[in-house]
């Protein structure tokens, strides 16, 4: 495998080239740096039959689900953080329009780690005594070959596309994000193809505390999308627009209002 450096293209071209109907796609960002604009571009391009992956599906996933892009959701917490429920998600589950594969955060985080490590599975202390293993096939017991203890195994996420939002890229396509960086590194390293939308393209990345740097040769595409994480945060660029999260509740609750919102996209 001779890797190629990232290409810098428009968001529309990147989504067109990287995301195909039927793909398994993760858009990550743990309340900070959520790739909202990329998710909405997937809706605009009417991608279908996707298996969507995300630890914390929130309003952009509610939008993707409501718009009919998803066949299946792999997740660990699906809610409107600090507000309440995701009504499109909730309805799709309750009406069986959406298949789900449900984990805990620790299980999902370790599934990303296994993907980034090119291991078929990861182990953790988790799930014992909960009802999750009864309903989720991707949770299995495993015995420690040294102590005999029983732990839990979860399989690597098999991602076609990993999408994240970052603060900066340089002109060569090297990416830097900082602050709380969640599982974004694993999302890129664990996927066959990756897209990073960025607030800013700079001449030179200046090293920062708490930064994750992704060299251009592990990134497939970079797209310059200022505001691409709104209404979520982008540290040192903008704060969370809490009103938008609250306003989403009413839009999502009502099919007609949701349809009208779709028109505005």
């Amino acid at each position: 495998m001779r890797t190629q450096p990232a290409e810098i293209t428009s968001l529309a071209d990147a989504v067109k080239d990287l995301v195909h109907d039927g793909d398994t796609v993760a858009l990550e960002g743990f309340t900070h740096l959520i790739p909202v604009a990329a998710g909405q571009e997937i809706i605009r391009q009417r991608k279908r039959d996707l298996t969507l992956v995300r630890m914390t599906p929130d309003i952009v996933y509610d939008q993707l689900i409501g718009a009919g892009c998803a066949r299946k959701l792999i997740f660990s917490w699906g809610g409107n953080p600090g507000v309440g429920s995701l009504h499109r998600f909730r309805e799709a589950v309750q009406t069986h329009e959406l298949e789900i594969e449900e984990h805990s955060h620790a299980g999902m985080a370790n599934r990303y780690v296994a993907a980034a490590s090119h291991l078929p599975f990861a182990i953790l202390r988790g799930y014992n005594g909960t009802s999750l293993p009864e309903h989720t096939d991707t949770i299995k017991p495993i015995t420690c070959p040294f102590t005999g203890e029983q732990l839990t195994a979860v399989p690597a996420l098999d991602l076609d596309v990993g999408i994240i939002h970052a603060q900066q890229a340089d002109r060569k396509g090297n990416v830097q994000l900082w602050g709380q960086t969640g599982v974004q590194k694993e999302t890129v390293l664990g996927a066959k193809r990756s897209l990073v939308t960025v607030e800013e393209i700079v001449d030179e990345l200046e090293p920062k505390p708490n930064a994750v740097v992704l060299p251009r040769w592990v990134v497939t595409r970079v797209a310059h999308v200022p505001g691409g994480a709104k209404p979520s945060y982008a540290q040192d660029y903008y704060e969370r627009d809490n009103q938008a999260y609250k306003a989403w509740d009413a839009i999502s609750k009502d099919r007609e209002r949701f349809a009208a919102w779709m028109e505005t996209l």
Binding site: F30, T31, H32, M55, T56, F75, S76, W77, G78, G79, P81, G82, S85, L86, F89, R90, V93, Q94, H96, E102, H103, S104, H105, A106, A109, N110, Y112, V113, L124, R125, G126, Y127, N128, G129, T130, S131, L132, E134, H135, E149, Q150, G179, Q180, T181, G182, V183, K185, E186, N210, V212, S232, Y233, Q235, E239, R240, N242
Partner: protein, 248 residues
């Protein structure tokens, strides 16, 4: 000074953080309680938020667990896999706060589905998040939940996070290393597991609340402690600190 039921809950949560080094905090009442503790009796309390902030010192209540102010004021920021593997699973966090949509007499918690069955639920809730591992691995767990027969049920419809299982010895058998729920703080009082049976017992009622009110709000035959106590009402200092915090 008069006060609201939520304020009594937050103050009770804050007081429960005596002699605690580190606590794992979600958004809502747990965050309020933990931040109140930091501003009153526990200035060195280490607040850990699951998005990666360890030792956060937020100047006001954060809007979400990934709020910039948490990272900016933290002693350290770590990635989410590291948070769960090195910090939660390792048992380094003394206290984890959890909420609940349903809770049973052994403090098992449901935040996944209500009614029907898993594939055909009446209500689909957000799900597990970090709760199962917090419940398994934190030194102890404090549950904060408003008391009602809808929430306090005979049997939870789904075990999202294990409390005391079906009684003594269950946590050990399951390999869960923390002590599990040691307190359930409600708007009516405090429930604690019996040392022998692990069943929740009403040990405190809040001022003005009777044991009968608590029993009526519980979907099982709630046991009452022989020495049932009344929670100390919030002090003026507590209320002032709490209201400043919420207003900030």
């Amino acid at each position: 000074m008069s006060y609201e039921a939520d304020e009594m809950m937050s103050v009770t949560a804050a007081r429960a953080l005596k002699d605690v080094n580190a606590c794992f905090v979600g958004i809502g009442l747990p965050s309020t309680g933990a931040n109140l503790a930091r501003r009153t009796h526990a200035p060195d309390l280490v607040l850990v938020y699951e998005a990666g902030a360890i030792g956060a010192k937020p100047p006001s209540l954060p809007l979400s667990i990934g709020d910039g102010m948490l990272g900016e004021t933290a002693d350290a920021i770590v990635g989410v896999p590291e948070m769960f593997n090195y910090w939660v699973q390792s048992g380094r966090i003394d206290v984890g706060f959890l909420g609940a949509a349903q809770i049973d007499r052994y403090a098992n918690i449901n935040t996944t589905v209500i009614g029907g069955d898993y594939d055909n639920p009446k209500v689909r809730l957000p799900g597990a998040g970090g709760a199962p591992e917090i419940a398994a691995s934190c030194g102890e767990v404090i549950v904060i939940v408003r008391q009602s027969t809808r929430a306090f049920v005979q049997t939870v419809d789904f075990v999202t996070s294990v409390g005391h299982g079906s009684g003594p010895g269950d946590r050990e058998k399951l390999g869960l290393r923390g002590k599990g729920p040691t307190k359930v703080i409600t708007d009516l009082g405090i429930l604690e597991p019996d040392a022998e049976t692990r069943e929740l017992v009403l040990t405190h009622v809040h001022p003005g609340i009777s044991a009968e009110q608590a029993q009526e709000a519980t979907g099982w035959d709630l046991k009452i402690a022989a020495d049932l106590k009344t929670t100390e009402p919030p002090t003026e200092a507590e209320l002032r600190a709490l209201r400043e915090l919420v207003a900030a």
